[in-house]
Subunit: 121 residues, 2 copies
C-alpha cells in the first residue's frame, strides 16, 4: 500500500491508473501525442462520443496532473493549443504500445484497422 496525496494505492501501477485511468484520458493523451499539438475542437471531433463537459473536465485534470500543457494563443482567431508535457511524453511508449496491440488484437479478430480505417471516420 502506498499513501500519496491523501489516497491509498495498491502498487505503482495503481498510481499510474489514478492519473490516466478512466474512459477518456488515455484516448485524449494518445490523440495529442499523435498530432503533437491539438486544439479543443480537433480533439473533440476526433473522439466521437465525448461530450464537451467530459472533454474540458478531463483536459483540466490532465493539465492539473502535469500531463498536458494548455496554451492560449492570442492571435486573430483566439484559440487554445494542447500539447504533452515532458511527463505526458514519458508515457509515449504506452501510447504506441497500446495502439499497436489494439490493431493486432483487431486483426486476430478479423478486422484490418490499418487497411479499413478509411471506413471509420
Amino acid at each position: 500500500m502506498i499513501e500519496f496525496n491523501n489516497k491509498i494505492y495498491t502498487c505503482p501501477i495503481d498510481v499510474m491508473l489514478g492519473l490516466i485511468g478512466g474512459k477518456w484520458k488515455l484516448l485524449i493523451l494518445s490523440h495529442i501525442f499523435r498530432y503533437t499539438i491539438r486544439g479543443y475542437s480537433q480533439i473533440r471531433d476526433n473522439l466521437p462520443g465525448i461530450s464537451e463537459k467530459m472533454l474540458s473536465q478531463q483536459l483540466k485534470e490532465l493539465e492539473r496532473d502535469d500531463l498536458i500543457h494548455k496554451e492560449i494563443i492570442s492571435e486573430k482567431p483566439l484559440r487554445v493549443e494542447y500539447s504533452l508535457t515532458a511527463q505526458g511524453m514519458s508515457l509515449s511508449d504506452l501510447y504506441t504500445f497500446a495502439s499497436t496491440w489494439g490493431i493486432a488484437y483487431l486483426k486476430r479478430n478479423g478486422i484490418d484497422y490499418v487497411k479499413d480505417q478509411n471506413l471509420y471516420k
Copy 2:
C-alpha cells in the same frame, strides 16, 4: 469508429481499454504476470481493497476474454491456479512499463517505492 462485438470503439486503444480497463484488471494481470501462477487467495491478499465479488467477477471476464487461464488442480487440498494465456502475456511490456513508470513517478514525488516497499504490506 470501429464496430466489434456489438460495441463501438473510437480507436484501437479504446478496444484495448474495453478488455483491460477498469479499476482492477490491469492490477490482477500484472500481479499474475509477476508471480507466473497464482491462486485465488494469493491474488486477493495482494490486492488490498478488492472484494471477493469483484475479484471473481474480474477473473471471470479476463478468462472469457482469453487473457488468463484457470486451472482447477484436483490434488489433496483442492485449489485453483490462474496464469496468463498467450494473449495475456502479449501485454507483458505494458505491465513492466506501467510498473516502472509508476515507480519513477513516485520517486519524482518523493516516495522511494523500491526502497520502502517493506513498509507497505
